[in-house]
């Protein structure tokens, strides 16, 4: 309906649309910016390719692709890990041939691990797990047995298997720390004797000793003679 062309004063390139007036709001007859339209078209083309690539041209398109990613990721990592382990000094022990450590460096490492792996959460004042400082043991007190409990867990009772969180050497250090440094130490765990006593004492003796710890659990497990 406009025969005379009206131009917006401040942007002379833009034509005002004369019959567009909404409560004083005018509209300009500019085309959408070209860059915007081209990126839009490109995103549509990309999307078509994406769908065809993943859902039509894949030979094994019936396998969800997330699982393919997963499989690839795991095998890639496993290879890396294998390489890393191959490059490391050969582990000369397993839970059957482990040796007790007592050097200061290992004790310090063990103590750090005891803290960072949050052992104290269950074996300390919460009394969820047994007292580790008395001489009563549910699953044996030999280095092999304790190493094994830490590594493989007693998962039905809530003891985590730490094999995914610590190396064998670290578990050895932690086990040694528990056996060397914690024995007879003052614990926040107030549980009484659990499990077999060790050759250090008997149930009654242990109860006396654990009186100054904070774990109030009664005897658990057999006493080791």
């Amino acid at each position: 309906m406009a025969t005379e062309e009206q131009y917006d004063k401040e942007t002379v390139d833009s034509k005002l649309m004369i019959d567009h007036d909404y409560d004083g709001i005018k509209e300009l007859d500019n085309p959408p910016p070209a860059w915007l339209m081209w990126i839009f078209y490109a995103s549509i083309i990309w999307s078509v390719f994406y769908v065809f690539y993943y859902h039509v041209f894949y030979d094994d398109s019936n396998i969800p692709d997330d699982l393919k990613v997963y499989g690839a990721q795991v095998s890639e990592y496993n290879l890396e890990v294998d390489d890393a382990i191959a490059a490391m000094p050969v582990s000369t022990f397993d839970e059957k041939s482990i040796e007790l450590l007592s050097d200061e460096a290992s004790m310090a490492e063990g103590q750090t691990l005891y803290a960072t792996k949050t052992c104290d959460v269950c074996h300390g004042a919460s009394n969820i797990g047994p007292n580790l400082s008395d001489e009563f043991w549910l699953h044996g007190n030999s280095i092999e047995e304790i190493f094994s409990v830490i590594k493989y867990g007693k998962t039905d009772k809530g003891m985590t298997a730490f094999k995914t969180q610590m190396t064998d050497v670290q578990i050895q250090q932690l086990t040694s720390y528990i056996l060397v440094k914690m024995k007879g130490a003052v614990s926040t765990n107030t549980k009484g004797p659990e499990g077999k006593g060790t050759d250090m004492g008997n149930a009654e003796g242990a109860e006396d000793e654990s009186a100054d710890t904070s774990n109030a659990k009664g005897p658990e497990g057999e006493k080791h003679e």
Partner: protein, 711 residues
């Protein structure tokens, strides 16, 4: 042509504007509280109704439905009357809309802290409130479309296109996602389970962002920005293209919230490609807004209103760029379950929604009250404090997100998780949480300055309740397309046709994506060993939902080595078939719980651990951010409601035996006693009918069924 005189109803605008300000302060205040709770867990105060899990839904619902919702209505009621040269269709419907919506907000503010929730994000409101929302929404729609029908302007303006699409789409989304089977006055189970519930929920959730936080805001922008700048809209053609592209594409994008999760691969791909295609249509709104300011940039320096719009529209551009990027699977693998999402949505909510609403009200208030803005200086102060607050909120969270995800995914040379203890990855980012709370505080301070300024402005003038206006009556045009009339111009003067086209645009994606998701069985491969929950576990699950555990804990292990090492085998679609509602979560403030119950799994804990952990998490995990839940130990399980729960589940097809509803309580007592006996071995004395027992039973069931299949 004869001029007709009529009056604009400004009172309803003032009413909606006033509550926008009021609920905005409340929403931001609750947000600050929950930000502080994450930084200092003591701020949970050991009170059920003040814990993070219950207040976080209150915060999100208050910001979305109370602050932004009323802000939208303010914009709609002011701009529509003027754009259509008529009073609103009905004063009465407007009042019913207003009071109905405020009652809904009050009901939400009471029920959410009490723990009445549907357990789905931004859809937490219980079923009676959902029905009320639906009714009030229809009142709003009738009032809006009635106004369009009575207009004195031939063509409807782009702002109103966005308003109409908002009304239609929210109605569809709201009803479909909230379908549930009630079993109490405020309690119900979602009719969808597991994967399907997740799909419907994020179709809703993402489009609540699209059609509640975006399209009506674009409508607001298209009226108030050119008004305040006094400049013509840059491109009418761009308006057309980006409007239709936006509403057509948005509806498909929901599954990008579920990438690498137990959702069929085709649906995930839809989520990816439609999000990427959305980038430019979204930017169309930003570009049209910013280019409309051509020739007005010199005034941005002096005008607080224009400043708010510039930052608001830019924030929109930022978050709509970030959205498609976060929807790429490789990026999402990193960003999902981290604070990145939280930062992303706050750029949208604080920047786009907040600043556009502030800009609108700063411009509107002096006009409503026929006065001048009390203080332009304070408005500028608000702008700068608000902007600073937003930056201080978002940047630390981006930082926290990247830090935490790198820690989650790092392995040692031996192939072990470098940070197997989840807590290490949380304590590392705590400083960022302090900064974020500070950012939120600044934003709140700016908001309070705004409140003062608006009260003072209102007091300095008098409300022009009835504003006189005049316009010629609408000359009827033949409904046939006229020579020289473009097809779009044609549909702009026929609102019924326009509404139908808008409905078609949003229903296509809905039908293609949601219907097969619900109907096609092969989308959820069955796992034979997956059984319904026992009544005790079900009661525990309902407590899990009630306490909002999903706001911090996910139940969805993605098929990544870093996740399967940390949490156990990745989640399968078939595992969730009895989960009404699904509880996959979207953020891991704490570890994933999908395999919590798997004995021998990486995160299994004993019954005694769970008991003590719920009683006081910090006793076991000294730096834990989790609130304490002592009331689970003192409160008894609601036994009376159990038969109704079982029957509701049976209605939904959960295969409990006929008549099991009557046996449920006895079954619970038996399982509960066994659990209580086990706890006694650890010197924990607790009655078998306490909520903690149900909660532990549920924890120990999580993710277990699939392990039985292998044996």
């Amino acid at each position: 042509m004869e001029q007709q005189t009529f009056y604009y109803d400004n009172k309803i605008v003032r009413m909606f504007g006033g509550v926008t300000i009021l609920w905005g302060v409340v929403g931001v205040l609750v947000g600050l509280l929950i930000a502080l709770q994450l930084a200092f867990p003591v701020m949970n105060f050991n009170l059920p109704w003040l814990t993070f899990g219950r207040l976080r839904p209150l915060h999100t619902n208050a910001i979305i439905f109370a602050f932004v919702g009323n802000g939208i209505f303010t914009a709609v009621y002011y701009s529509m009357q003027r754009l259509l040269k008529t009073r609103m269709f009905s004063d009465l419907l407007g009042r019913i809309h207003f009071w109905g919506w405020q009652l809904i907000i009050v009901a939400a503010a009471i029920t959410l802290p009490l723990g009445y929730t549907q357990g789905k994000e931004y859809a937490e409101l219980s079923w009676p409130i959902d029905i009320a929302v639906t009714l009030v929404w229809v009142v709003f729609g009738v009032n809006m479309l009635g106004t369009v029908a009575r207009r004195r302007v031939q063509h409807i303006y782009v702002a109103i296109w966005f308003y109409i699409s908002t009304f239609i789409t929210i109605a569809v989304l709201w009803i479909v996602n909230n379908l549930s089977i009630p079993f109490g006055w405020f309690e119900s189970y979602s009719v969808y389970a597991g994967v399907q519930d997740a799909l419907v929920q994020w179709w809703y959730g993402h489009n609540a962002v699209a059609f509640f936080l975006t399209t009506p805001m674009l409508g607001l922008m298209y009226y108030f920005l050119p008004k305040a700048a006094n400049r013509p809209v840059y491109s009418y053609k761009l308006s057309i293209i980006h409007f239709w592209a936006l509403i057509f594409l948005y509806i498909w994008a929901g599954p990008h919230h579920l990438l690498y999760q137990a959702l069929p691969a085709w649906a995930q791909s839809m989520g990816v490609v439609f999000s990427v295609m959305l980038l430019m249509p979204s930017w169309g709104g930003m570009v049209n807004g910013l280019l409309t300011l051509r020739g007005a940039w010199d005034r941005v320096r002096d005008s607080a209103v224009l400043k708010f719009y510039v930052v608001g529209v830019t924030a929109y551009g930022m978050s709509t760029f970030e959205g498609p990027m976060l929807s790429l699977k490789s990026v999402n693998a990193i960003s999902h379950f981290t604070d990145w999402t939280i930062a992303h949505v706050h750029i949208g909510a604080m920047g786009w929604n907040g600043f556009m609403i502030f800009g609108m009200i700063y411009w509107l208030w002096p006009r409503l009250f026929n006065t001048k803005l009390k203080s332009e200086g304070l408005a500028n102060t608000h702008f700068w404090i608000g902007t600073l607050g937003m930056i201080l909120y978002a940047v630390p969270l981006y930082w926290a997100a990247i830090t935490q995800v790198l820690m989650w995914n790092e392995f040692t040379a031996e192939g072990l998780l470098a940070y197997p203890n989840f807590m290490e990855t949380v304590t590392q980012i705590l400083p960022m949480y302090y900064l974020r709370a500070l950012g939120g505080l600044l934003y709140l301070i700016g908001f309070l300055i705004f409140v003062y300024n608006m009260i003072a402005t209102a007091r300095s003038g008098k409300l022009v309740a009835e504003e006189e206006a005049s316009a010629p009556a609408l000359t009827p045009m033949p409904s046939k397309r006229q020579p020289g009339e473009t097809p779009h111009r044609w549909v702009e003067r026929r609102w019924v046709a326009f509404s139908i086209w808008a409905f078609v645009a949003i229903i296509i994606g809905t039908l293609i994506e949601i219907v097969p998701g619900l109907m096609v069985k092969s989308n959820v491969p069955t796992i034979k060993s997956v059984m319904p929950y026992t009544p005790l576990e079900l009661a525990g699950r309902d407590i899990y939902v009630r306490e909002g555990c999903y706001t911090c804990h996910s139940q969805q292990i993605r098929p990544f080595r870093a996740e399967t090492e940390r949490y156990g085998e990745y989640s399968k679609a078939g595992e969730f078939v009895y989960d009404h509602p699904y509880q996959w979560g979207s953020r891991r403030m704490g570890p994933d719980l999908a395999r919590e119950g798997v004995v021998g799994g990486p995160i299994y804990k004993s019954n005694a651990w769970h008991y003590k952990h719920m009683l006081k998490p910090q006793d076991l995990v000294p730096t834990s951010l989790m609130p304490a839940y002592p009331w689970l130990i003192s409160d008894q399980i609601d036994l009376e409601i159990m038969p109704a729960k079982i029957r509701a589940m049976q209605t939904l097809g959960v295969p409990y035996a006929e008549g099991f509803d009557e046996l449920a309580v006895a079954d619970m007592a038996k399982q509960g006693q066994a659990l209580a006996d086990d706890l006694k071995k650890s010197n924990i004395d607790v009655a078998a009918d306490r909520e903690i027992i149900a909660m532990i039973a549920y924890m120990q069931r999580l993710g277990v069924d699939i392990t039985k299949e292998k044996k």
